[in-house]
Assembly symmetry: C2
Homo-oligomer: 207 residues x 2
């Protein structure tokens, strides 16, 4: 048996906040943490690997998994479906691996509703003007897309109140430090350390 | 207004676990943290200062404070009373100071029952034999006292299940690291960072 249960770390943010970079750095820095691989119905692209980038499945199987309550969260994006598997996640967590779920606000709501034991972190930009200049300077979106993202940002940011922790992405290093601190602390939760605690208690004489 | 609410960190352990040393090191290492000063009816001893070591009050005032629900926890020890004040704690927390409460298991129960927002950590020794040899080697207790402490240890250690976090005091430095990590993470809770979050949200245009 693993010495502890893994932490399911849910991370959400308004788009343009730099969440993907943060998650990437966190994965690079910490051991025993892995990125949760989603299921999807979309076609595999060149350079992608099944089971590494996504679990590629067909629509029939995806819908059957919806029907059997197998998704912690799923979404329809441009007619393709994406979802986080429940049993695959629970198996990893039971074996003591921490899982990072990089999901949007809708996904965060579903994970909370699923009743699974998750730790949620909301990443905020230091301010709206900073978010705006970041979105404009990364140059990967059209002006229209930037405008759409900015228009949605307030509603997304308001969702912070439903999360456990908030990290402000002002400086990348300190934001990654904060994510690492949250994960390290959550590993010490009594609810995740049954085996460690029991091992120690078993050395005590009965009263 | 302070940028965040302080964390009320409750720390308990079976006696002999080295909790006082841990708390001392944590206070030395971290800023904005202070030790919660208790109220007591016992006489001030040489070298002690009112308001620093304890708030020294008479029995009449202590009992009036019990009556008005002013204690988060209190106890009778050898006919003298000791208690943690509610309003003094809440004031410090509201001003963004973290408070450390080094209390026994009975005190821990009362704090939980008080409904105050506290974070509780239980410190365990690595094993019963280690606890026994530590108690014997520190030489500050009579054989009878050691025997009493050891007889109570199992019942005390079982209380870990009611706490939020568990820290195993195997190596002092790493145990202090873990306490510091817990405190740092809890400072990032959404529930304690209302002002920070509101400041950021206020820079966003309304939807």
């Amino acid at each position: 048996m693993a010495a502890r249960k893994g932490v399911l770390l849910v991370i959400s943010a308004p788009s343009g906040t730099g969440k993907s970079t943060l998650v990437h750095e966190l994965l690079r820095r910490m051991e025993d943490v892995e990125f949760s691989v989603s299921f999807t119905t979309r076609k595999m692209r060149e350079g992608e690997a099944d089971g590494l980038d996504y679990h590629f499945i067909d629509r029939g199987r995806f819908d059957a998994m919806i029907g059997s309550g197998e998704f912690l969260e799923w979404a329809d994006v441009f007619r393709e479906r994406y979802g986080t598997g429940r049993s695959v996640s629970l198996l990893k967590l039971a074996s003591g691996r921490d899982l990072i779920l990089d999901i949007d606000i809708q996904g965060g709501r579903q994970v909370r509703a699923s009743g699974i034991d998750a730790v949620s972190v909301f990443v905020l930009p230091p301010s709206f003007p900073t978010l705006k200049s970041r979105l404009l300077s990364r140059g990967s979106d059209s002006d229209e897309q930037v405008a759409t993202r900015l228009a949605m940002a307030r509603g997304e940011a308001d969702e912070v109140k439903y999360y456990d922790y908030v990290v402000v992405n002002d400086d990348l290093e300190s934001a990654v430090d904060q994510l690492a601190t949250i994960l390290s602390a959550e590993r010490l939760r009594v609810s995740r350390r049954g085996p460690v605690t029991e091992d120690i208690l078993s050395t005590f004489p009965a009263e």
